[in-house]
């Protein structure tokens, strides 16, 4: 797969030298030992749980709830609203876009910062028992190939339309943790291998929080189709 460094050198709309391999990731949820019964305990846990737990409740939960168009962002926002009845905190958690982070540590810091600030201004809220505890989990991940490989734009579009939404999540959302840059596998390949810089940018700007993952797939397909014509 192409790297970010050679993007600018690629001429427009050329035959890709490297095919795009559609992969997918499957997850098995591991139940962790930590749980939080109130917001103070959540803060402590957020600071100490392993990275894969933060991943589970942000990136991974988005995949699990890919069919919800609006109103779901991450497990911390959901729990703050429905178990702690703290809509303002829930809104702040929900406003965190996981795609702004290329490493879990930054995402963890942001969540801690939000909760810490909230508890400083709402000191009665911290120790109030939640309606139900927050159970920290994590995922064991297995990356698998799919039946689809694309060495043309047409084949790319076909693969895009055929793979599971888990594959879309793998390439479009989780990819930034792998690439450690603010992009995704689709945009990287389209720009580096086919020279489609503008469509690549347009794909990167798709709002994942106002779309289902099927909606994201359709938007990517539309952008690629327009570029082909």
């Amino acid at each position: 797969m192409a790297t970010a460094e050679n993007l600018a050198e690629k001429p427009a709309l050329r035959h890709p030298q490297k095919p795009f391999y559609f992969n997918t990731s499957e997850h098995l949820v591991r139940i962790g030992r930590q749980r939080a019964g109130n917001l103070c305990e959540l803060l402590t846990a957020l600071q100490t749980v392993p990275d894969d737990s933060i991943f589970q409740h942000t990136f991974r939960t988005l995949q699990e709830h890919h069919f919800i168009r609006q109103g779901f962002s991450n497990d911390f926002a959901h729990w703050s609203l429905f178990a702690c009845n703290e809509p303002a905190l829930a809104e702040q958690f929900a406003s965190v876009d996981v795609r702004e982070f290329t490493a879990i540590e930054g995402l963890r810091r942001r969540m801690v910062e939000i909760l810490d600030e909230f508890l400083q201004s709402h000191n009665m809220s911290g120790s109030r028992a939640a309606h139900e505890p927050f159970y920290f989990c994590a995922s064991d991940i297995v990356v698998l190939p799919t039946a689809f490989t694309a060495d043309t734009l047409k084949a790319f579009l076909n693969g895009l339309n055929q793979v599971s939404v888990h594959s879309i999540h793998h390439h479009f959302i989780e990819a930034r943790l792998r690439l450690h840059c603010m992009s995704n596998d689709f945009s990287q390949w389209l720009q580096a291998e086919v020279g489609l810089a503008e469509p690549a940018d347009a794909i990167e700007r798709i709002d994942i929080y106002a779309n289902t993952m099927e909606g994201v797939r359709r938007q990517i397909a539309r952008i690629v189709s327009q570029a082909m014509n």
């Binding site: 591991r30 699990e64 709830h65 989990c137 055929q162 599971s164």
Partner: protein, 468 residues
């Protein structure tokens, strides 16, 4: 063995039992005879439809490709990729009953699907005398928090039958999965085999009787991993714990698509008017399912919106408490001719399916619940669902996203009114609920989890701590 047990066993493993699917009721259901019973249709007392009086012949089990139209080819491809590396590896499942209840129902489908993926899977059922099953029934209740005094004699009987089964069975497979507490001590055989040993716990261990748990936990700690149906059902253990949601089979009689003509015919037989809104709860007549609370909520809602209430379940003919609850429900219903109470035999899967499909709203107003597979069934049918926030239900219903959660009769009544008068919102949560089930609670996802677990245990072999 009851006459009904004989019927069901003769059809195993392809018998598509449609007994209530909560693991919490497994033992009771395994032991309860189901004589052909009277269907109580409170509204009309019409002659019973002959079709429901005797169990139908079981349909053949589906093949993997049959699920393609439901979950998509890409999901089947994923299963095949996952299974490819495990080709020839073998799995043994051990539980305490071949028929009746959720675990046997699930294994009836899971075992052939894994074998079709060339991961040969064997299913063994432990044997034991009445003394053993009386003790394990008491353990079951105690693990749910009931008071129980564990005696030396009970421990001895439990261990003796586990030892007998251990000697009777062979453990040449690559992964051995022991379901629930009854055979948990079979793990002592693990020293004879290099297999991965997994304990699949289908019950809620969040508040167990301390004596019983102290007795069982040393066995549980000898497994390589434990699996629970909800995060909230777990205990602190020194072994990895995984989350496997219970699942439904979308091709079973209770969940498969039905032609509208069949839905109409069944509604006609039971006197359900499809031209008016239908609110339904499907549950055994059990106080923990709060059928009287559902009647009260319906009556509050009925002041504002026209609707019928269908309470469809069983348990009143073979269980004295069930009969008492049914009587309470009838008294609560009074003379309201829009309340239809159906005491159905456990094989009425198609009838339950049709009633759920005909419903405008489905309710599960339980006071206590296991995972709540009747909720899963409702969501799978795309029905706007109102359910209590108990047990595993919050795993399925995300409030206002995949259904609505309630905590009281009044809350339930309000949501009935709201959903009946806001069909677009109701349709939206129904659609999301079905997607939630498709993603997390179908048989194919269950198959995937077992394949993933095997791969993960294989990858981490040698790195896992082992209890002394």
């Amino acid at each position: 063995m009851s006459s009904d047990d004989s019927r069901a066993i003769s059809a195993s493993p392809t018998f598509d039992t449609q007994a209530p699917t909560e693991a919490a009721g497994l033992e009771a259901e395994r032991r309860s005879p189901h004589p052909a019973r009277r269907v109580s249709d409170r509204r009309s007392n019409r002659p019973l439809p002959p079709s429901v009086l005797t169990p139908p012949a079981p349909p053949p089990p589906p093949h993997l490709d049959d699920y393609g139209a439901i979950v998509g080819q890409s999901q089947l491809d994923t299963l095949r990729y996952l299974a490819k590396d495990l080709k020839g590896k073998t799995i043994k499942m051990v539980n305490s009953t071949a028929v009746g209840g959720g675990v046997a129902e699930m294994l009836n489908r899971l075992v052939p699907l894994l074998s079709e993926l060339e991961v040969p899977t064997h299913w063994d059922v432990i044997t034991g005398g009445n003394d053993f099953f009386e003790i394990t029934k008491a353990f079951h209740n105690a693990l749910h928090g009931a008071p129980y005094e564990l005696t030396q004699s009970a421990k001895h009987i439990f261990l003796m039958y586990n030892e007998q089964n251990r000697k009777r069975m062979h453990f040449g497979e690559d992964m051995v999965v022991i379901h629930d507490p009854q055979p948990a001590a079979i793990v002592l055989a693990r020293s004879q085999t290099p297999a991965h040993w997994v304990w699949r716990c289908h019950i809620d261990l969040s508040n167990p009787n301390a004596g019983v748990w102290e007795f069982l936990s040393p066995f549980v700690e000898q497994y390589d991993a434990a699996i629970f149906s909800s995060q909230s059902f777990t205990r602190r253990l020194p072994i990895p714990q995984y989350l496997f949601y219970p699942c439904i089979d979308p091709l079973s009689e209770k969940n498969k698509e039905l032609p509208d003509s069949q839905v109409q015919q069944i509604c006609d037989e039971f006197g359900i008017d499809r031209s008016r809104p239908i609110v339904t709860q499907v549950s055994r007549f059990d106080r923990l399912k709060d059928p009287v609370g559902v009647v009260q909520a319906y009556k509050l809602a009925k002041k504002y919106v026209d609707c019928q209430l269908v309470l469809a379940g069983g348990g009143a003919s073979d269980d004295p408490e069930g009969a008492a609850v049914l009587q309470e429900v009838k008294e609560a219903a009074g003379n309201d001719s829009d309340i239809i109470i159906l005491d159905l035999p456990p094989w009425c899967a198609i009838e339950i399916n049709a009633i759920q499909r005909a419903s405008t709203i489905i309710v599960q107003k339980s006071l206590k619940e296991g995972f709540g597979l009747t909720v899963t069934e409702a969501l799978w049918k795309g029905k706007p669902t109102i359910a209590s926030a108990v047990g595993g239900i919050p795993n399925q219903i995300m409030h206002k996203l995949t259904g609505v959660l309630v905590h009281s009769v009044e809350g339930c009544a309000f949501q009935m009114r709201y959903l009946l008068t806001h069909p677009e919102f109701a349709r939206g949560i129904g659609t999301s609920g079905r997607e939630h089930v498709k993603e997390n609670f179908l048989m194919t996802t269950n198959v995937k989890r077992w394949l993933l677990l095997y791969r993960i245990l294989e990858q981490t072999k040698g790195r896992r701590p082992r209890a002394a």
